[in-house]
Amino acid sequence: MPRYGMAVDLKKCVRCRTCYITCKVLHNIPSQFDNGRKYTRVKLIEPEAGKYPAVRRFFYPSHCMHCDDAPCVTVCPTGASFKDKDGIISFDPKKCIGCRYCILACPYDARYFNHETGIVDKCDFCEDKVRQGKEPYCVEKCIGHAITFGDLDDPNSEVSRMITEAGAVALSPQLGTKPKVFYGNMR
């Protein structure tokens, strides 16, 4: 059984936002805003650091980290949020009661509440595609080839190689959820 994960090489990222758009369009995610927060599975995070004149703007796509110790799964009362055998933090819309406890539990702000459907939604690594042996949309469409996806347990998989080559690390690992999305060439 593979243990799926993802890596993003920020040096290869050209900040084109294709991952965000493609995910939104191909997953039919509505265009509304929720308290200023977009309905989206992929977020583009652009924090600034430093003091003038030494200022830097970061840019990285962020979505569900598919945490190995996923707090969203622990708090879900119905099993709508669950961890699959291949490590994907999956979501069953038919079981979700819309309590939004998972949104509070997720430290990565990966979930949004869809007022149209009354339930939450999040990145599922495009699991339907992945199980047919294909790649997630964001990986497939990224024009810089900055995102890779695959089996973390296989040292020769593309994702494992990118993690080693780009020195990719998890974001804020001190939160203790063991994310399976890694970012390389962060600085």
């Binding site: 308290n35 977020k43 995070i45 924090p47 650091a49 970061f58 990285y60 962020s62 707090p71 622990t74 708090v75 879900c76 009362p77 119905t78 099993g79 709508a80 079981k95 979700c96 009661i97 819309g98 309590c99 939004r100 406890y101 949104i103 509070l104 539990a105 997720c106 430290p107 990565y108 702000d109 509440f113 869809n114 007022h115 459907t117 009354g118 339930i119 939450v120 974001l171 804020s172 001190q174 939160l175 203790g176 970012y183 962060m186």
Partner: protein
């Protein structure tokens, strides 16, 4: 990406508050029953508990995005704090509703309530009050909530709001001279609970203010930031005023019904306001710890 949570708002605050009132009113009723047996004050507690809990559950129900599927929350009783709560509240509701029915049917006749029912009710009332704090207490992503102090605070506040509801209920319905004694001892007990609430709240804010996590920002937002006006109104109206009123009642030692009616009702209303404000404020200043690439 740290930010203030906007996921749970007023409906959840009311839900937590009313569940607490129900538990507190029930526990006070049990205490009065234990001291005096069947009497109007105890009956008022029984009369308030089940309806408050029922309304509280309705608030939770209608806050769900997909309420019609709520039955799913019963399927995995220990999987999540919400499922645990669903079970605890349901069982407490059944016990309280059965006693409510007996009480309703008894009318003027003397009321028989079994000790077993009382004990089960007390256990589930305590569980309900504590649960309202644990629900938030287990959320690690929001450090201000993530502490065992929160269930303690909510439990104390629940008892206090329950006593408040009882005072208001009895006094508005029309208390008799014979009730004044027990109302006095309830207000004396509440004096202790409000005192405890102030101490625990102070300790809670001090501990969280020292935190290196987002909890410190929550404390700031509460005592000196955008929530500060409401917070200080809560401190004065929800804690200090009822404390002084109850202090006054107990110092004078007058068992006059008239002074109980005025001070008791006022204190009770303030306690209820305070209980709701406390829950709303704690929800409102829940700030996510957040994650960042710049670390």
């Amino acid at each position: 990406m740290s930010g203030v949570q906007t996921v749970w708002g007023w409906p959840i605050a009311i839900y937590l508050f009313l569940a607490g009132v129900a538990a507190g009113a029930y526990l006070s009723a049990a205490y009065v029953w234990y001291k005096r047996g069947d009497n109007p004050v105890s009956r008022m507690g029984i009369f308030l508990a089940a309806p408050c809990l029922g309304v509280s559950i309705l608030f939770l129900f209608f806050d769900l995005g997909a309420p019609l599927r709520f039955m799913l929350a019963f399927l995995k009783p220990f999987s999540s704090m919400i499922s645990v709560g669903t079970w605890v509240l349901t069982i407490f509701f059944i016990i309280a509703a059965l006693q409510w029915l007996k009480c309703y049917k008894a009318k003027e006749a003397s009321l028989e309530l079994s000790n077993a029912a009382w004990i089960a009710g007390i256990i589930f009332a305590v569980a309900t009050a504590v649960y309202t704090g644990v629900l938030l207490g287990v959320v690690k992503a929001i450090p201000f909530w993530n502490t065992p102090l929160l269930p303690v605070l909510f439990f104390i506040s629940s008892v206090s709001t329950g006593i408040g509801a009882l005072l208001v209920g009895v006094l508005i319905k029309g208390a008799k001279d014979s009730d004044v004694g027990i109302l006095h001892s309830l207000s004396r007990i509440d004096l202790v609970f409000v005192g405890l609430e102030v101490l625990v709240l102070l300790f809670y804010l001090l501990v969280m203010g020292q935190s290196r996590l987002a909890a410190a920002s929550s404390v700031k937002m509460l005592v000196a930031g955008s929530c500060a006006p409401f917070f200080w109104i809560f401190v004065v109206v929800g804690l200090l005023v009822p404390f002084c009123l109850e202090w006054g009642l107990n110092r004078k030692q007058d068992n006059q019904l008239s002074s109980m009616v005025v001070s008791g009702t006022a204190a009770g209303i303030c306690l209820l306001f305070g209980g709701l404000a406390l829950r709303y404020l704690i929800l409102a200043v829940g700030i996510f710890e957040g994650f960042s690439p710049i670390l």
